[in-house]
């Protein structure tokens, strides 16, 4: 059934990386392990955005809201209720997907720019409520000291937990994007009018994509809680949403794993540059400008373009 989806060479490569990632906590100091775990969480978030952005050309300008909703839901359930912890973990993505469905349903009636604007306003509303509702959400302080299951409360165990969930999610996303659902989504991206003419209910399809994307954003939110043990209103703020946007572009938004690369680059740069200077935003701005002028398809997109002709010959040679 899954024959030919991915070739042996790539599988070996991925396997090698996985093994490397698994043994790293035994070698690297805490600082790097923490940063890697943060990269994992951010990668998942960026990948979730790219489901609708790169593969669907839906201008989800405020994707961060769903990340924040997932994180806050889990945080609130773990710290304010005595319900079983796994329930809190599951509630996060579901809440994110429900909010995604609600906001998506309102926004999907509109075209691109208006879609983005309405989403920003709805998202800002949620941010404003979370920011001010001190009693419930901790206001601008956020919530700290969230109790976590002892199994994953140490940094190393959190690292492994996050890595495992990330891999599962990536596999799921890969299958989804390579499925008929995914190829129809990409067709909608390229020519929504034609898709309508061939019988696709474009709005409903896009809405389904949004629900999927926001679900995985919620998962990323839960992973954030596992890693940090706290949540802040910044997770819901629009600047974060734009940063995720940039990660997708940086890595290559028309590729599958581009966002992962983008997230890795952004998080590591931010961490390392932050050691030397407090003007990280300036550097990020310059990088973005360089990207716009010289690498509009992103880093991975650029490399794929250079090596794609060879890849296609290989594919045709295999008779696919």
């Amino acid at each position: 059934m899954f024959k030919g989806t991915i070739d042996v060479k790539s599988l070996r490569f991925i396997g090698a990386i996985l093994i490397l990632l698994l043994i790293l906590p035994l070698i690297f100091p805490r600082f790097y392990i923490y940063m890697l775990a943060l990269i994992f969480v951010t990668s998942l978030l960026a990948m979730s955005l790219n489901v609708v952005l790169g593969h669907g050309m839906i201008f989800q300008f405020h994707h961060g809201v769903f990340y924040g909703v997932g994180a806050y839901t889990t945080a609130l359930m773990l710290s304010k209720t005595s319900l079983p912890m796994w329930l809190g973990f599951v509630a996060g993505p579901i809440a994110a997907a429900l909010v995604g469905l609600l906001i998506g349903w309102f926004c999907i009636r509109l075209t691109r720019l208006y879609f983005g604007m309405l989403q920003i306003s709805l998202g800002s509303l949620i941010w404003a409520i979370a920011f001010r509702w001190y009693a419930f959400t901790g206001g601008d302080d956020g919530i700290h000291g969230i109790p976590l299951p002892s199994l994953i409360s140490s940094l190393n165990s959190a690292y492994y937990f996050i890595l495992i969930i990330l891999v599962i999610c990536l596999v799921a996303l890969y299958l989804i994007l390579k499925s008929p659902f995914g190829s129809t989504l990409e067709a909608i991206r390229d020519n929504p009018q034609r898709c309508e003419a061939v019988g696709v209910n474009v709005r409903r399809h896009q809405l389904k994509a949004i629900v999927i994307a926001t679900f995985f954003a919620g998962v990323a939110g839960v992973l954030f809680v596992v890693l940090e043990g706290s949540v802040f209103p910044d997770l819901l703020f629009w600047v974060l949403s734009l940063e995720i946007f940039i990660m997708c572009l940086l890595g290559g938004w028309f590729t599958f794993a581009g966002p992962v690369l983008g997230a890795a680059i952004m998080v590591s740069l931010r961490t390392f540059v932050g050691i030397f200077t407090e003007y990280w935003t300036l550097i990020l701005g310059v990088i973005l400008i360089l990207l716009i002028f010289f690498l509009p398809e992103g880093v991975m997109g650029y490399f794929l373009e250079r090596f794609r002709p060879q890849a296609r010959e290989l594919a045709e040679g295999r008779g696919e």
Binding site: Y114, M117, F131, R132, Y134, L284, G285, V286, P296
Partner: protein, 298 residues
């Protein structure tokens, strides 16, 4: 949950006036954003940063002239030109090369500008709060509806409509203005009749940024000037421009009034969640009229 106290006509009236004067500043800023949006069809994310630069520049000019009355007025006049100059440099050096690209790239470019300007401001002025005291004639307050309203707010209530009139005059009566309006609707046609579209865009961009700077200079006596002003104002400006109708100057006015008034009323009725009122108003407007209240330019 506690409701604001003093819910009588006097406080209602004065809060309304406060809201209206705040709306005037929002209007000046949003008119600029809307203008650029209308002509270039790109929402300028850096608009808030230019507002902030205007505020800081006004502060510096004010201090340069010994914090005097003359200094205040000079700051008000010169600061927007400083901002216009900065925007002209950015436009001619980088922005104009992107006009052929898709709008998403232009949007991202303005976002990059926002990041860069934000840190440049931090570099130049540091992270402290700055404040400016208005000249004597605008200090203090006037008694109205039984409570006091700062004089400076009245000043704003006069300046706002003046800017509106000046803008209207500009877009309808001057050649540049009319050409800009034409370019907003059909840039190819404008190019065909021999006008350099690139220069039209440059002019529109600079004018829009000038207004951002003016808004920043005007707001200075009423708030503490600090980093983060750009983040706060840009979201509000975007939302206002969207509910007003993209590119529509009167829409920017209507949107600003709605935003400013709901915010000040929110302070009166539910101080803790005052900030939610304008956002909720925006959401309601967009749900009922997703394309904005007034017609968008395109």
């Amino acid at each position: 949950m506690e409701l604001g106290q003093g819910l009588d006509l006097a406080s209602l009236g004065s809060q309304l006036l406060v809201g209206l004067s705040r709306a005037m500043i929002l209007f000046v800023v949003c008119a600029g954003l809307s203008f650029v949006l209308g002509v270039l069809r790109v929402p300028n994310v850096a608009h808030g940063s230019l507002y902030m630069i205007g505020a800081f520049a006004a502060y510096s000019i004010f201090r340069f002239f010994g914090s005097s009355t003359a200094g205040f007025w000079l700051a008000l006049i010169l600061a927007p030109f400083v901002v216009a100059l900065v925007s002209l440099i950015a436009e001619r050096a980088l922005f104009c090369h992107l006009y052929q690209r898709e709008h998403l790239m232009l949007l991202l470019f303005t976002f990059a500008l926002m990041l860069i300007f934000g840190d440049l401001v931090k570099l130049t002025w540091g992270p402290e709060y700055c404040s400016v005291v208005p000249p004597k004639m605008l200090r203090g307050s006037i008694s109205v509806f039984g409570s006091s309203l700062p004089r400076y707010n009245f000043f704003l209530l006069i300046v706002g409509p003046l800017v509106a009139i000046a803008l209207w005059f500009f877009t309808n009566k001057t050649k540049i203005g009319k050409v800009s309006r034409a370019a907003a609707v059909d840039r190819e046609m404008v190019g065909v009749i021999g006008i350099n579209v690139s220069w039209v865009f440059a002019a529109a961009f600079v004018i829009g940024c000038y207004l951002a700077g003016l808004g920043g200079a005007l707001v200075v006596p009423t708030v503490s000037v600090c980093l983060g002003m750009d983040h706060d104002i840009i979201i509000e400006a975007f939302l206002i421009v969207t509910i007003g109708g993209l590119g529509n100057m009167w829409g920017a006015l209507v949107g600003s009034l709605i935003f400013g008034v709901t915010q000040s009323l929110g302070v009166l009725f539910w101080p803790q969640f005052a900030i939610v009122f304008p956002y909720a108003a925006v959401v309601i407007v967009l749900l009922l009229r997703p394309r904005g209240l007034l017609k968008s330019v395109w």
